[in-house]
């Protein structure tokens, strides 16, 4: 069974030879290859080299592009600067009016976004169908929040709701354009990153009334093109789980604050789960034994009935020890 087959079967709740393991290795892979984030997030050759090295080292069932939430906002016009540690940070936001333009579907495919599409093309060429090749892209709310600022978006939620709805509608179409570009380049799946949809920021009512239908549109767009749709939410989103279960994505990627066993009870078999070892402390700073213990617990509790992919709760930090990552792959066979 190939990694891609294993992932496809798992998300259909069908038996697999073992639980698939698919950590978001991007930042770690780049560090391991001795490449700066700055270079990897602009140069498909460098990023592909780093990711293929990591695939060779760990043999994951899926590999995803580097997580870069500044790529789409930069394409939309936000100012992005290289920080002292060579990561990229957004240093000047756009006015909300800029996201009400008619050509966002074209503009969002500029700047560094094509470098990520090209990385997917190279990964697929190198890996074929042995490993799932996935692209990480910003969701409409997160693209809006990073482009104009989360405080602006939070105020618009209460004071300019119609304008925000219009903005999100346009960005939904733009996100679908990015997804299409990746799928056209050979991506097997798209992980839509919506960290700003976490419960603290977006309550269940706002999620349901303002974002859910748009997430469903993106999910169906991916599925219509035979892609695997994954939705990632950061932080504690327990209050929104019933709503997220209806997102129509194949997989819900959840962060460590959410108890995955409880999440399974809430979402049932509507959606597969991916996660959720703690990437803030356990994976970068825990012992190999503690990582193995936590991973084994997840595999034991969630792996028997399918619908589960073992991963971190978010992208692994660059400094995560190799031995800790190996323990995730050891746990999968128990």
């Amino acid at each position: 069974m190939t990694g891609l087959e294993r992932v496809r079967r798992a998300i259909r709740f069908e038996p697999t030879d073992r639980v698939p393991v698919a950590p978001l290795l991007g930042a770690h892979a780049v560090a391991l290859a001795g490449i700066t984030y700055e270079a990897a997030s602009a140069d498909p050759t460098a990023q592909t080299h780093a990711l293929l090295n990591a695939v060779e080292l760990y043999r994951p069932d899926a590999v995803f592009t580097l997580m870069d939430l500044s790529a789409e906002p930069e394409a939309l016009g936000a100012e992005v600067t290289v920080a002292a540690d060579r990561t990229r940070i957004i240093t000047r936001h756009l006015s909300p009016e800029a996201l009400l333009a008619d050509d966002l579907e074209r503009v969002i495919l500029t700047a560094r976004v094509p470098a990520f599409v090209d990385t997917v093309r190279r990964l697929r060429a190198a890996l074929g169908d042995t490993v799932m090749a996935g692209a990480l892209i910003s969701g409409p709310l997160t693209a809006a929040a990073n482009a104009v600022g989360i405080e602006t978006i939070a105020r618009m939620l209460r004071r300019q709701r119609e304008t925000l709805a219009d903005m999100l509608e346009r960005l939904t179409k733009a996100c679908m354009a990015v997804a299409r570009a990746h799928l056209g380049a050979g991506a097997h799946g798209i992980m839509l990153l919506e960290p700003c949809a976490t419960s603290g920021i977006l309550g269940p009512d706002d999620l349901s009334s303002l974002l859910l239908a748009r997430l469903q549109t993106v999910a169906e767009h991916i599925r219509d093109r035979d892609g695997i749709g994954l939705l990632h939410i950061c932080g504690d989103c327990r209050a929104s789980l019933p709503c997220l279960a209806d997102s129509r994505f194949d997989v819900l990627s959840l962060d460590a604050p959410v108890d995955l066993m409880r999440a399974r009870e809430v979402v049932g078999h509507h959606i597969a789960l991916l996660g959720n070892l703690d990437v803030r402390h356990l994976l970068p700073r825990g012992t190999p034994q503690s990582v193995y213990g936590a991973a084994t617990l997840l595999v034991r509790e969630l792996g028997s009935e399918g619908g589960f992919i073992l991963s971190g709760g978010c992208e692994l930090p660059p400094e995560t020890p190799t031995e800790n990552i190996r323990q995730m792959f050891e746990a999968r066979v128990t």
């Binding site: 540690d85 105020r155 309550g203 402390h281």
Partner: protein, 223 residues
């Protein structure tokens, strides 16, 4: 109900509804009828305290807290000139900022407002604050607490650097350190030697109060 009681209730309701104009108007009217500035700040504190509890229970969310904070600040702008003539007794002094390399100010701004509403004197250093700037500001303002926020795993270690600088300058025992932000956990706070961790804006206020209580207890040594 007296005019003062009615206006105080109106002020609290305006803040809780995120009504900036209503909050400023109620604060202004209270001062006009001769209410002490502390009547206004007391009402603001109660309203923000209730909102903090609701936020902690996930009954309300960041957008609700943010527009309430705007209303709070609109009312404070009205009352601050009067406060200069009859200053409140501050619970303690806090310098707050977002660490170097990070420009995400939402959480920090909410914590700043909640701390001010709870009676702390807060000096906001803004975003992308250099490690030394936290320490320099804390010493300049004789702060009781340095409060730091980070939204990114790539920048959170600047908190560790600030604590390291406090140690290397020999002033670690003069100031407490409170940390928070999305990637920050209690385990991380313990690891870097922070004194307290705030899980959200409401929790950060509770943590600051714990620190001040400990700081001001009889026999506490922080020369």
């Amino acid at each position: 109900m007296s005019d003062e009681s009615a206006l105080t209730a109106a002020l609290e309701a305006a803040v809780e509804a995120g009504d900036e104009a209503g909050a400023a108007s109620a604060a202004s009217r209270l001062l006009e009828i001769g209410a002490a500035p502390t009547i206004v700040t007391g009402a603001l504190s109660r309203a923000m305290g209730r909102l903090g509890e609701q936020f902690h229970r996930l009954d309300i969310f960041v957008p609700d807290l943010l527009i309430a904070a705007d209303a709070f600040e609109a009312a404070m702008a009205v009352v601050e000139p009067a406060l200069r003539n009859s200053p409140r007794k501050s619970k303690g002094t806090i310098v707050i900022g977002v660490v170097e390399g990070d420009i995400h100010t939402l959480g920090k701004n909410l914590v700043r407002v909640m701390l001010a509403a709870d009676g702390f004197e807060v000096y906001d250093l803004g975003r992308d604050v250099k490690v030394a700037a936290f320490v320099d500001a804390a010493l300049e303002w004789r702060a009781d607490i340095i409060a730091m926020s980070s939204l990114m795993t790539t920048t959170m270690d600047r908190m560790r650097d600030v604590i390291g600088l406090l140690v290397s300058r020999g002033v670690r025992d003069r100031v407490c350190v409170l940390v928070g932000g999305a990637p920050v956990t209690q385990a991380y706070a313990d690891e870097i030697g922070a004194d307290e961790y705030g899980d959200d804006a409401s929790d950060a206020v509770a943590a600051a109060n714990r620190l001040i209580t400990m700081w001001q207890r009889p026999g506490a040594d922080h020369s």
